[in-house]
Symmetry: C2
Subunit: 166 residues, 2 copies
């Protein structure tokens, strides 16, 4: 279980995820076709799938399903952290906020910060890490202009040097 997310040997372990450590998860451009396809399958409300109705509404055009946006976050987290880390499935999210609409063509920059960590009592050899992530929409100059998503969640990570039992 010292595999990273790709299945290769991991280089990031529980001990490396110290409080305050931050990761740049890169930039994602929202593909309008994929955004609408996702909504047709998982969240087919008119403001996610009906361009004409959405344009004439207070939304001013199609907006992404929040679950599409958080799925883009997940991909960025895998590419930039979990692909190198000895992680395991997550027990869940403590908070998820959709702070502003996301639209086709938006460029989203994602950051991740470790909030805290402690050995898991339930799973020997694992530690529980609490993390927070944030996605910002960038302006034409590549500067953050609006935070669109924020989440706080826990993940399990393998210890590099688990204490021997008893």
């Amino acid at each position: 279980m010292n595999r990273s997310g790709t299945g290769a040997p991991a280089e990031l372990f529980f001990e490396d995820l110290t409080p305050g450590r931050a990761f740049d998860l890169g930039t994602t451009v929202v593909d309008g076709r994929e955004m609408v396809e996702f909504a047709r399958r998982f969240d087919p409300q008119w403001y996610h799938v009906d361009e004409e109705l959405a344009r004439r509404s207070h939304h001013g055009g199609l907006i992404a399903s929040g679950f599409f946006t958080v799925s883009l976050f997940m991909r960025a987290y895998v590419d930039h952290v979990l692909a190198r880390a000895a992680g395991d499935a997550s027990p869940g999210l403590e908070e998820l906020r959709w702070l502003a609409p996301v639209r086709a063509g938006d460029r989203l920059a994602t950051r991740l910060t470790v909030l805290g960590s402690k050995p898991s009592t339930a799973r020997p050899g694992f530690g529980t890490v609490t993390l927070t992530a944030s996605m910002d929409r960038l302006d034409d100059q590549g500067q953050p202009e609006r935070e669109v998503l924020r989440t706080r969640f826990r993940g399990w990570f393998v210890m590099r040097d688990p204490a021997l039992p008893g």
Copy 2:
């Protein structure tokens, strides 16, 4: 803005979502091909996409990305409630728990319960509703055998009879 999620006139409004009211969101069968395609795009960790590695691990086989499972919940929520309700985008989730692995072929039954509601202070004519949802894996007899997902979240809904201002 009295459209339901389909864009047709709504029949469910803020006033109808009274605390304790529960909705059966039906049953969803997890399609293994779609489960893996979702993970390849959004959460390509080995235990979601590499059948052979997953089988030889403590997971005992491929498990769904948690974001796939919660996306299946969202679709059930749209089909059974939001398609009839004058809802608007959600500000977020207060909690999301992935309680047990979800696998190809699993039959998941989803329930939704209204926890509380109050007029929105920020958005006149809207109310904020707090809801909880739960997905249970069913056994061969169609009985719940394991809760796999639980979430608590807020949604905005249009009031049927908004108080006139001042």
